[in-house]
Symmetry: C2
């Protein structure tokens, strides 16, 4: 037990150190540090380090640290995003999300149809192209200090809606692959669950936090437990609880984390929470990005590179065009920045392909293509996103983010 | 993967929430919150919750979160403990540690001899009684804000020395159990490794941190990676690296973490690091204490209660008397407080018993006795420790802890 713990701490040490060194080196030449952190994972996963660190077999604990990392990252992004601000951009986010779902899905289906593959493979590729993974975008925007900009808020809102729509698409495709038919009642229940979950939290989360937690004598007597008040522990509980709740009804855990953060965004405790979560996020997120890199098998990725490259180009273009069209009213540069922010597929695309693979609905080769596409879109987004946001006209002073 | 992550987040949510609620309730009636956190684990581990949360099988990830929790907890304790202060109490710590190793070992051996058990069982019980687990004491002292007191520093110093001595004892006992004979060269190498590791870090750790990291232009260019400077990432790297190093040479990982913290204790970054690690520690440590509780099997514990109770009383008394004698020059109340701080055996005692069990050197019953003793000493320490420190005369103003 003791030496086993030592081996795990050694793995975490190497991964964290490599991520920080490569992230820092990237920073010196103005490449967003997330790219360096992902590359650290790729290098460790494809060299002798993989075996000498015993990272070949079960690395469940690393997956969980990674998941916690992105959950807390998105929670702190939620902390910077009060509901009032989201409401202002709600309609634009909705259009961005819908167009950003329709175009990639149709394109994915069309590619496989053009290649003469079975219908179900087209449906799965379409579903994998739908999923937006907002973790990487959120991290880049947070690092640039632009989470308060309208464009950033539209991306975050669209990512939430995108996840609800993506859940629907995946459920439909999964049902078609499994039984060849649809149970509309099941779909309706899932949709209702997701909408109620998101809707209730959006509208009542912040109010509940202000009503229940502020000026509450019980909360103040809890002080002895946590010297600076119990708000931090309560925030962790709410964040973990809503993340688990979102995952249990089929949404991504980070949707729950985002809504949890939003609920605290207008509370007096916000500033204190931002500081308190900073260390956790800085400690855990390198494991998220490193873990993405660790999953890259360069050998497999190279064997399907021609189709992977084509699909990646389609994946990038359909989000930029689809989401961009939805936000064209804000001007071309803003529309482009929003489209770029929605590009990364990250782990969500991989999960969709994994389901298809486990159902034997898609072949191994197509799975490798989706994995390569997910990683390429994730790696390519940060530099383009930084460039796209630098080109934007200066934000209105009152919209600027205080943090 | 998605729903699996959801299940794990649900487990973490329940454990964290239960620990915080019971810890907070304990706080209301002035029971140290660690006791509540351990009880939360005991309750979850011994009710329907264990099965419904699927906590029966492999919970490796929880063990790792627990280990990280105590590593960062002890790192922050090290941050409050500059080497200069430790040097002042070094001799007292040494005497406290030695007497606190000899008495429990002899008593453990004597108990089994009196019961007519084989010699090897007596040696293992003795070794299990030697191990001090400083995590719980450190948490209570940190909560009370008395880490700056001489008594607290003596405990921390003695815990480090105790771990080196405990490693020696365990190695000797293990060799006797396995081969029936000793290889003095192997023992000498282990001892030399441990002493060099601890000695080098104590004397040069702080100097290295000040020389290498301060006024270093390269460190400043790293800024882009971590908006508030790279010191936090460097501290995490050093903490994980030294923890892994300590574990790899057979010491407890927390010894490395403590020495890492001590190395930053006199640096300009100390205050910022204390704040940055606060959130991590508050998030992770409930998993450490909850995990201790989760491992309690009340059924087994009750079946050996008579011997367990006797051994526990011996475990408590031998540390209080042994360690207390070593610190008698400070006055009776201080000596008592120091002895109480050294009482908990925690996970270290359990590890020793587990080694004995896996070597078939001790029977299942004796293993259960050691587990019960480890947990009882851990549960009984916090209230007694709070009481013992409240009885102390006020500290000299210049020794008081700023935090």
């Amino acid at each position: 037990m003791a030496s086993e713990a030592g081996a795990v701490i050694l793995q975490l040490f190497v991964l964290f150190a490599a991520a920080k060194v490569l992230g820092g080196l990237g920073g010196l030449v103005r490449i967003p540090s997330v790219v360096g952190e992902i590359l650290a994972g790729v290098i460790i996963g494809n060299t002798f380090l993989r075996d000498s660190l015993q990272l070949s077999g079960e690395i469940e604990f690393l997956e969980i640290l990674a998941e916690l990392g992105v959950v807390f990252l998105i929670f702190t992004v939620g902390l910077e995003t009060p509901f009032e601000e989201m409401k202002r951009v709600g309609k634009t986010s909705l259009v961005v999300a819908i167009l950003g779902v329709v175009l990639p899905f149709v394109a994915g289906y069309a590619i496989m149809a053009a290649l003469g593959s079975p219908t179900i493979e087209g449906l799965f590729l379409g579903a994998a192209l739908v999923a937006t993974s907002v973790g990487i975008t959120a991290r880049v925007l947070a690092e640039m200090g632009v989470l308060g900009r309208t464009e950033a808020r539209i991306i975050l809102g669209a990512a939430v809606i995108d996840d609800v729509l993506g859940l629907m698409v995946l459920t439909v495709v999964q049902a078609l692959g499994q039984e060849g038919s649809l149970d509309p009642i099941q779909i309706a229940i899932l949709l209702a669950q997701a909408l109620i979950f998101v809707g209730l939290l959006m509208y009542f989360g912040g109010r509940l936090v202000r009503r229940v937690l502020h000026n509450n004598p019980l909360a103040e007597r809890w002080e002895w437990t946590a010297p600076k008040g119990p708000m931090f522990a309560i925030a962790v509980v709410v964040c973990l609880g809503l993340s688990a709740g979102a995952a249990l009804i089929g949404l991504a855990a980070i949707i729950g984390a985002f809504l949890a953060g939003m609920s605290f965004a207008a509370s007096d405790a916000r500033h204190d929470l931002v500081e308190r979560f900073e260390g956790i996020v800085q400690f855990l997120t390198p494991f998220f990005f490193g873990f993405i890199g660790l999953q890259v098998d360069l050998g497999v990725a190279l064997s399907v590179w021609h189709l992977a490259l084509g699909v990646t180009v389609v994946a990038l273009l359909t989000k930029v065009v689809g989401c961009g069209l939805g936000a064209l009213a804000l001007g071309k540069r803003s529309a482009f920045a929003i489209g770029v922010g929605m590009m990364p597929r990250g782990e969500v695309g991989i999960i969709v392909a994994l389901i298809g693979l486990s159902m034997a609905a898609i072949p191994e080769g197509l799975y490798a293509v989706v994995v390569a596409m997910s990683l390429l879109t994730t790696l390519l987004t940060p530099p383009i996103l930084v460039w796209a946001f630098r080109r934007l006209p200066p934000a209105q002073p009152e919209r600027r983010n205080a943090a």
